[in-house]
Symmetry: C2
Subunit: 114 residues, 2 copies
DNA sequence: CAATTGTTTCCATAAAACTAGAATAGTGGA
DNA sequence: TCCACTATTCTAGTTTTATGGAAACAATTG
């Protein structure tokens, strides 16, 4: 992931409503969620929701797939993992220190996160 | 990590100069870097640098330790890993899918990142 | 075709963030 | 004490972003 893409992704996620939308889609997984469904769950007016969804799509964090009258939004897991890789890349100049815990630890044992 | 902390961290990182500062400190590791050193490397005026450093400290992503006339800034690796955990937590509702690559893959083999 | 439903675009207002010169404060050396 | 140096705070101007009602658009249903 390029720096400019990482900035776009981080800027998009650095907002309460957009982070909530993204997290909702991450938990939803590949099945995704419909736009109206997201709006109902988060209590966001249509116009505002559409604005934030567009921002997330533009940042490459989610994708939109029209299905008739509905639009299904899905998290872009590749972008998420790319962002994580960007943040941690070459950490400690390549000499892992005690202070610099393994990224793998982000998922604690027993945690079902992927 | 709480949602409010994740938003603060993501907002802080969603800016070109702050992301550059944070990445510099991540690569520097526990040794950290002096404020002026960072300003020289990134070509940012003092007042602007100080503003962004304060934002990062406030977001919990870095720490400041005065050393005489100088101030040493260090990345807060625990916060970084906490943020990554927040983003990926309960992904795919706990049923990892093919689309949802393991976070561990963020570090490709041979990559010295921590 | 008209009505209905889901979604987006338009637009004006409001709020927040960015920038950097100038002034200020703290430290260490002469 | 005075000075040079490092860093921060103050301040003001500029830019960017967020919000949501209203209107427009698209697709299904009657």
């Amino acid at each position: 992931m390029e720096t400019i893409d990482a900035i776009a992704a981080l800027t998009a996620l650095g907002h309460a409503k957009r982070l909530a939308i993204f997290r909702l889609l991450v938990v939803a997984g590949p099945a995704g969620r419909m736009a109206g469904d997201i709006g109902d769950e988060l209590g966001v007016p249509g116009a505002t929701l559409s604005f934030h969804l567009k921002e997330l799509v533009h940042a490459g964090l989610i994708t939109a797939e029209p299905q008739g009258r509905f639009v299904c939004y899905r998290a872009e897991f590749e972008a998420m993992n790319g962002l994580i890789a960007y943040l941690t890349h070459n950490c400690c100049a390549g000499s892992p220190q005690a202070e610099c815990a393994p990224v793998a630890a982000a998922c604690s044992p027993g945690d079902a996160c992927c």
